[in-house]
C-alpha cells in the first residue's frame, strides 16, 4: 500500500490494537456508557486515521440510526462506527460523532480490554483499567 498518511496525536491516546495507529484522544471522549456486541464502547467527538464505510440503517438499543463502520487506515480492521443520522430526536446529539469499541483499541496506558468468555453474563467483565478508570 502507498505511503500512509497518518495524523499523530499528542496526549492520552487511544490507538488501534493491531497496528498502534493513533485514533483518538482521551479528552475527546463524550461518553463512556455505550455498549456494543463486544462490550463497552466510547462515544468520541473526534477520531482520526480512519476510513468511513458505506451508510446503512441499523436498529440499536436506542433506536434506528444511520451509521457507517469505520476502519483503521493502518491495518484496515474495523474499530467502530460513525453516527450519520439518528431517527429519534433524543438521539440527535450523536450525529457526526464516532464510536470506538473498547475491544478494538489500546488505551492511553497501553492497556487492553478483554471480553469475558461468557457473553451471557453481560456486564461482568474483568479488566484492570476499570479499576484505574481509563
Amino acid at each position: 500500500m502507498g505511503r500512509l498518511f497518518l495524523i499523530h496525536l499528542e496526549g492520552k491516546i487511544y490507538s488501534c490494537k493491531h497496528c498502534q495507529t493513533h485514533l483518538a484522544l482521551y479528552t475527546d471522549i463524550m461518553s463512556k456508557s455505550f455498549h456494543c456486541r463486544h462490550g463497552k464502547a466510547y462515544l468520541f467527538h473526534k477520531v482520526v486515521n480512519v476510513t468511513v464505510g458505506l451508510k446503512e440503517d441499523r436498529m440499536m438499543m436506542t433506536g434506528l440510526h444511520t451509521v457507517s463502520d469505520i476502519f483503521c487506515v493502518g491495518c484496515g480492521s474495523i474499530v467502530g462506527w460513525k453516527y450519520d443520522a439518528a431517527h429519534d430526536k433524543n438521539q440527535k446529539y450523536k450525529e457526526g460523532k464516532f464510536i470506538l469499541e473498547r475491544f478494538k483499541v489500546s488505551g492511553p496506558d497501553g492497556s487492553h480490554y478483554w471480553v469475558s468468555h461468557d457473553p451471557h453474563v453481560g456486564g461482568v467483565m474483568l479488566m484492570t483499567h476499570d479499576l484505574l478508570g481509563t
Binding site: M1, G2, R3, L4, F5, L6, I7, H8, V48, T51, V73
Partner: protein, 582 residues
C-alpha cells in the same frame, strides 16, 4: 497616382469629391483634400455610395478598411498592386500633399518638406511645430555629418530655435556642434544617416505625431491581425502547446487533444511501490523514489523516450521524497530512516549523508543558490545546512512532527511549512513576517507553483485547494473528483504556463483539472494500484509522469491521432503497455 495637380487650391478638390466616395477623414477635422483618380475614370457606382460599412456586424468602415489594405500592400513591397487598388477602389491612401511630403522627406528635401507640411492641413499648431522640429533636427544632423558646421549652426539658430519648443534638446544639439562625443551620446555619430532606412524611420516618427487619418500608421493591418490572434489565443483555455504559431485560416481553439492522455511508456525498474517522482528543472531527467529503498534517475531523450540512468541505493528504509538542485546537477533524497543523501546526477555517486543525531529528517529541499539545503526534522524544527553538513540555521516550533512538506521561494525569502494540522505558515526570513493559510480540514501535502505565487494544498477530505500567496493568502479554486482515504497523494501544477492541475488518486487514475475553472478534464486509467504522485515535465507540456503502488511509472503523452509531426518534444515513440491499450 492620378492626374490632379498638387498646386490646385484645396477648395476645388473638395468640391470635386462631394459625391461621397467615402471620405477617409472625419467631417469634424478640417478636411484634407483628396480626389478620385482622374475624374471620370473612377466614378463611384451608385450603389456603393451609401455603403460605408462592411462586414456582418457593420462596424468596419469601408474606406478605412481599404486604406489599411493599401498601406499593407505598399509595405510588403507590392507597389503596383497598391497603386491598382487605389485606382480601382477610388480611395486614395494618402492625399497628394501627404504623398509629396513623404517623398520630400525620403529625398531629404527638408525645406520643401516643411512647406508641404503646412499644406497638409493639420489644425494643431503643436503638431506642426513638433514635426518641423524633427525635420529640422534631421537636417541639422545630416549637415553636421557632412561637416558643414556653419550651415548646421544656421539651421539651429534660424529654424530650430525659433520654434520655441524642447529647449533642452536645443541645448543638446548646440553641444553637438562643439563636441563630437555628444553626437555619439545622442546616437547620431554613426554613418548611414542618409540611407533610406533611417529616413523611413524619421517618417515613422513623424507619422506618430499626426492624426492617424492623415498618414496611416505603419503596419496597421498586421497589428489588427495580431490583436485578433492574441484574443483567440487567450480565449483558448485548454491551450497547451509550445508552438505559438496560429493560422489565420481558422480561429484557434485547442481541444482536449493537447493534453497528455495516453500512456506512451511504462517504466518498470522499481521492486516495490513508487511513492514520489519529479522531473528536473530543465525537463531532461526524471527522478523517482520507492518503497524498495532506492531512487532512480531516468534520462529523457530527444524523442521523448525515457531510459534508466542511475539507480541510487544506500537508504536503509523507503525513500520518501527527493529534490533536484536548482542547476539539476545534484539530487537530494530523504529516507524513512531519517537520513538525507546528496547525489551527483552525472555519476550517480553519493556525495554526502546528512543526519541529525537521535532525530529523523523527514523532508529535504534546496536553497535557491544551490549551496545550502534544508530539511524538516521530527522535533518540529526545520534545519538549514551547507553542503558539507554544517548546520547554519534552525527554525523551531514551526511544523507538525510528521507532515513533512517544506518549501522555499526562489528568492530565498519565504519558508513555507505545515505548522498545524489544518494550517500552513509562510515565514518571511528577512522581515520576520508571517502569513497563514487556514483550512477546515487536515492538510496532507502541498506544492508551490513555479512563479512562487500559488500554493496547491491537498486535504484529507479529497479536495485540493489552490491558494494565492502573493499578498494576503486567499483561496482561489477547489478541485474535486479524485479519491484519497489512506495515503499521501500528491498533486502538481503543469502544462503550458501551468494551466493545469494534475493529481494522483487511490482509484489508480491520474486526474487532470483546468486550473482556472476547476473543471475536471481527464481521469486517466492505466495503473493497477493507487497513484501516489504526479509530475509534469516543465520543458514539455505534453509529458506527464505518474508513480504508482503497482511498482511502475507511467509516462503520458498526446493521443496517437495528433502526432502528425516529430518535433523535438513530441512523444513520438510509443511502447506496448501491458496490452491494455490506454
Amino acid at each position: 497616382m492620378g492626374g490632379v495637380e498638387d498646386d490646385e487650391p484645396p477648395s476645388k478638390r473638395v468640391k470635386a469629391s462631394t459625391e461621397d466616395l467615402g471620405r477617409p477623414f472625419d467631417n469634424s477635422s478640417r478636411s484634407v483634400p483628396f480626389s478620385p483618380l482622374g475624374g471620370s475614370m473612377a466614378r463611384p457606382l451608385p450603389s456603393q455610395g451609401k455603403d460605408d460599412m462592411i462586414g456582418s456586424k457593420g462596424v468596419i468602415k469601408k474606406v478605412e478598411f481599404v486604406r489599411i489594405i493599401t498601406k499593407a500592400l505598399y509595405s510588403l513591397g507590392y507597389e503596383r498592386s497598391g497603386a491598382a487598388l487605389e485606382e480601382e477602389s477610388g480611395i486614395c491612401l494618402h492625399s497628394s500633399a501627404v504623398n509629396l511630403f513623404r517623398k520630400q522627406v525620403l529625398d531629404g528635401n527638408w525645406d520643401e518638406s516643411v512647406l508641404t507640411l503646412h499644406k497638409i492641413g493639420l489644425s494643431d499648431e503643436s503638431i506642426l511645430k513638433s514635426a518641423s522640429f524633427l525635420i529640422w533636427e534631421r537636417k541639422f544632423f545630416e549637415l553636421l555629418q557632412k561637416d558643414r558646421i556653419m550651415d548646421a549652426l544656421k539651421t539651429l539658430r534660424s529654424e530650430i530655435a525659433p520654434l520655441g519648443i524642447d529647449k533642452k534638446r536645443v541645448h543638446e544639439l548646440s553641444c553637438c556642434i562643439v563636441s563630437p562625443q555628444q553626437r555619439v551620446l545622442l546616437g547620431f555619430a554613426n554613418l548611414g544617416l542618409e540611407t533610406s532606412n533611417s529616413r523611413l524611420k524619421l517618417l515613422e516618427d513623424l507619422q506618430k505625431l499626426f492624426p492617424p487619418t492623415v498618414m496611416i500608421p505603419e503596419r496597421r493591418l498586421e497589428h489588427l491581425v495580431e490583436q485578433a490572434l492574441s484574443v483567440q489565443r487567450q480565449g483558448c483555455y485548454l491551450h497547451n502547446s509550445l508552438d505559438n504559431s496560429l493560422s489565420l485560416y481558422t480561429d484557434h481553439h485547442c481541444g482536449k487533444d493537447q493534453i497528455p492522455s495516453r500512456t506512451v511508456q511504462v517504466l518498470q525498474a522499481h521492486h516495490d511501490e513508487v511513492w514520489f517522482l519529479q522531473f528536473s528543472n530543465n525537463g531532461k531527467y526524471l527522478a523517482s523514489s520507492s518503497n524498495d529503498r532506492s531512487a532512480i534517475i531516468w534520462e529523457v531523450h530527444e524523442d521523448g523516450e525515457l531510459s534508466l540512468k542511475h539507480m541510487l541505493t544506500g537508504h536503509q528504509k523507503p525513500v520518501l521524497m527527493l529534490a533536484w538542485s536548482p542547476d539539476d546537477r545534484q539530487l537530494l533524497t530523504c529516507g524513512m530512516e531519517g537520513a538525507v543523501r546528496r547525489w551527483d546526477v552525472h555519476t550517480g555517486d553519493c556525495l554526502h549523508v546528512y543526519e541529525k543525531g537521535g532525530l529523523g529528517l523527514i523532508s529535504c529541499g534546496w536553497f535557491p543558490d544551490g549551496r545550502q539545503i534544508f530539511s524538516g526534522v521530527t522535533d518540529k524544527s526545520t534545519c538549514l545546512w551547507d553542503l558539507d553538513g554544517k548546520e547554519l540555521e534552525s527554525w523551531k516550533e514551526q511544523r507538525t512532527t510528521r507532515t513533512s512538506d517544506v518549501a522555499i521561494t526562489k528568492d530565498g525569502r519565504w519558508i513555507i511549512s505545515i505548522c498545524r494540522e489544518t494550517a500552513i505558515m509562510l515565514v518571511d526570513r528577512e522581515a520576520k513576517l508571517e502569513k497563514l493559510i487556514q483550512e477546515d480540514q487536515t492538510i496532507t501535502s502541498f506544492s508551490l507553483s513555479s512563479d512562487d505565487k500559488f500554493l496547491l494544498v491537498n486535504l484529507v477530505n479529497q479536495e485540493i485547494h489552490l491558494w494565492s500567496i502573493k499578498d494576503d493568502p486567499g483561496l482561489v479554486t477547489r478541485y474535486r473528483g479524485h479519491k484519497r482515504s489512506r495515503f499521501l497523494i500528491r498533486s502538481c501544477f503543469g502544462g503550458y504556463e501551468q494551466t493545469f492541475i494534475a493529481s494522483g488518486s487511490e482509484d489508480s487514475q491520474v486526474y487532470i483539472w483546468h486550473r482556472e475553472t476547476g473543471e475536471l478534464i481527464k481521469a486517466l486509467p492505466g495503473h493497477s494500484g493507487a497513484v501516489n504522485c504526479v509530475s509534469w515535465n516543465p520543458a514539455n507540456p505534453h509529458m506527464l509522469a505518474s508513480a504508482s503502488d503497482d511498482h511502475t511509472i507511467r509516462i503520458w503523452g498526446l493521443n496517437r491521432a495528433n502526432l502528425k509531426r516529430k518535433e523535438a518534444y513530441s512523444n513520438g515513440v510509443t511502447h506496448q503497455c501491458n496490452g491494455k491499450g490506454q
